[in-house]
Amino acid sequence: MHDLIIGMAGSGGDGIVSAGESLLSAFAQEGYFAILTKSFGSQIRGGESSCRLRVSSTPVLNPGGALDVAVALNWEDFLRFGGGLPVNESTVVIYEKKSGIEPASIPLGGVKPAIVRSVPIEELAMKSAGILQAKNNVILGLLSEWLGLPRAGILEGIRKKFSKKGEDVLQGNERAFAAGVDYAKQNPLGRDMSTDRPQVRENHRVITDGNEMCARAALFAGCEFFGGYPITPATEIMEYLQREIWSHGGSLLQAEDEIAGIAAAVGASFAGTKAMTATSGPGFSLKTEVLGLASAAELPLVCVNVQRGGPSTGMPTKQEQADLFAAAFSAHGDTLRPILAPINAVDAFGLTVEAFNIAEQYQTPVIVLSDQEIAQSKVIIEPIDPARFTVVNRLKPNKGELGNYQRFGITDSGISPISHPGMRGGNYLAAGIEHDERGAPTASGEMHARMNNKRLKKLDPLKQRRDLFVIEGDPDAAVGLVSWGSVAGIAQEALRTARAEGLRVKLLIPKLIYPVAEELYTEFLASLRYGLVVEQSHQGQLHRIIRMWLNVPREFRSIAKSGANLISPQEIVELIRLLARPTADASLAHYCDLLNII
């Protein structure tokens, strides 16, 4: 098999997520790539929990669709995750025998999985280790044998985890693992489930997530100040930085509220340091007034919004891409804040560095629009090569300019050198109030128009940044996909699958979402008969933004879904199949109807 998707669910305390993490670290050691998505009920502790792990010998683009292997410690918990753990006709289902349900009557709504195994997991755990908590290691033993998973790595993980808890506990868990292996040996699956081996087998892999990558990138880019407030699913950015930032001479404020967090960051930027804040939807709404100030005062600032299901409290632990309108349009007045959207954890590094670079170069707030899937899924990646990134600093006034300093001087580029307190001769008044070139408050309509023009024009060159777009596939294809953020990896997989079948299709992934790069979109759209914008929001927000700026083909449609359950690559592939070989002169709406796509 090219890759393998395992989904597991149980009650809190069953150690399901911990089993997923053990597998992840074992795969990393063997040189595999993977994405581990964890999911919990809304309880702080206890309740149901699940994880899904997609592993491959090549970089994993997305968490994938239907499960190859499903493990249910109890069906009630498993079913609570619904579309998060989809099972189909080719899935292998393993479940706890104690449930008393016969393999023929497992509650999967009529889906008949390829193989169903009822295993006395709890009994094996009790017999081998004498404790219920060893159930997850029985499962690891079963999977290790049936799926041909890297046994040494899993055992090493078990040893690492339990060695601190005493020899007895460690040996018990090792026995539980062995019991799982033995059971699987005695009851072979009758199907080869092993995955392709990765090419690199040494320890050349890193386990991380988007939030950590974002925080590391901030430090790499020279961020010396972070102001923020705890909010799911962005908090880990602050948690990482509060461990690391001090040692690099920076500081961090866990503020009294979201507003104070970003306000302090703006203050730090005014003082001459690179500054960041991070939040999620509701917090982002609170921060928008200060973002307006940063635009008016032309202060560099990076604001990360790790999107979650909304509106309001919504679904804090679930993925969604529904804050695009908020990011683009929540400003008051005529402002434009660049928006960068990473497509995965690796990208979260690169684009956070880029966000600082753009913020510093153009003296503007920049929004990094990440999402829960990117931010919190654990991934195995290749180590990032810092030599690939450059770090840009703000333009400071030279001695001559300081002689008669005009902080907001009108220049060809719209960028005027920026001083900071402590710099002799650079003294000026920063303000949200409209100001003239020296920074003095003004009520002149003419000056207001000139300053608006300066603040907006300076961002025009961004639209030429082709490196912030990915274009893949057949350039003259009549079928084209546009996708962004964490969903882009799904579209990418669909594209590659379809092209492997000989279909002609192309894909555009904008990482610079805003300002809208009209020229680039126009070129991409030119060959299209059918265009699909694939994204995870009910309204199809990118689709609507593209239509605001561009003339689109008649058959340009939004394939948009509310968040929490990811769109699956298979859905998109099916649609491409119909569109790339249209049987009659039918409309896109017709094909969407055929597939029941809203």
């Binding site: 690099h248 203050g267 008044l429």
Partner: protein, 296 residues
């Protein structure tokens, strides 16, 4: 800060020039009404800054929105006329980013005790080395006369036709209860006293709060005007108040709105560590073991 270029270094130690009040006064003409108490606050600030003698480019004056928040523009220091209510967190960011700066926060009673009221206790409990000057005029002047958080109960205006039915905030008691280590009150009627208080507040290591009863000539209560302050004001120090006595300070502060005390209510003789000094300690203790490149 890690990466200061040569132009940005504070040359605090190299100071040899003596500064006068006018070195801190900018050429901008204030928008304040003739007779506004804020003129005196500006004058007192210029004098206090001259007495302290830091060059203007090493001073950051951060304000919110309102009449009084125009103050930074009338100085030659680096100024930031920011957002309504957000001066304190912005100032804390400035100070954390560059602890060498002299950072002063200015604003009105609406800024500090209404829209930005939630920031005050947190600024106090962190104890950054900031001076917070509130120009308390008990009215929203810039928006033309609405009641403010410090307007006395019963205050009538065209925007409160039937009079305020809310108790006013007591800024002095709030600051003391939050744990501020330096709490004082000043009035424009006593320019010399205000200058001294502002100077002492700036010199105090840690968060210093000065409530300035700066009357609004246009929308304010006639009984609070500057010329009447002279007769009403009672100087705490002249009356023998021991500014190290926190409980007594709170008792006296309760008279806010009734007795016009000026001077220092409370001054902790043993200033606790400032936020900045604790940050510096932490930065030094954790000093980078790994190069930033290794973070990738």
């Amino acid at each position: 800060m890690i990466s200061h270029d040569s132009a940005s270094h504070c040359d605090c130690a190299a100071k040899s020039t003596a500064y006068t009040a006018k070195d801190y006064k900018s050429e901008l003409k204030p928008i304040w009404c003739p007779g506004c108490g804020d003129y005196s606050v500006a004058a007192a600030l210029y004098r206090a800054l001259a007495a302290i003698g830091r060059p203007p480019h090493e001073i950051a004056l951060i304000s919110g929105i309102g009449c009084s928040s125009r103050l930074p523009g009338y100085t030659t220091a680096y100024g930031f006329n920011s957002l309504h209510g957000r001066a304190l967190p912005i100032a804390q960011g400035v100070k954390m980013a560059n602890p060498e700066l002299l950072v002063i926060v200015a604003g009105g009673d609406g800024d500090g005790f209404s829209i930005g009221g939630g920031h005050v206790p947190h600024a106090v409990r962190r104890n950054p080395d900031l001076t917070y000057l509130v120009m308390d005029n008990q009215v929203y002047g810039l928006t033309k006369g609405q009641v403010s958080p410090t307007s006395p109960r019963g205050t009538k205006s065209h925007a409160a036709s039937f009079g305020s039915i809310e108790e006013p905030v007591n800024p002095l008691l709030y600051a003391l209860a939050y744990g501020a280590n330096f709490v004082a009150q000043a009035v424009p009627a006593d320019l010399e006293g205000m200058t001294k208080i502002i100077e002492e507040a700036i010199r105090y290591p840690g968060f210093a709060f000065v409530n300035i009863q700066s009357p609004c000539v246009t929308f304010g209560n006639p009984e609070t005007q500057v010329k009447l302050q002279k007769a009403r004001m009672r100087n705490l120090q002249t009356e023998g108040h021991d500014a190290t006595n926190h409980l007594r300070a709170m008792e006296l502060a309760e008279a806010y709105g009734k007795t016009l005390y000026t001077g220092i209510f409370y001054r902790n003789p043993q200033p606790p560590p400032t936020y900045g000094s604790q940050i510096k300690d932490r930065q030094q203790a954790l000093k980078a073991k790994t190069p930033i490149e290794a973070l990738a």
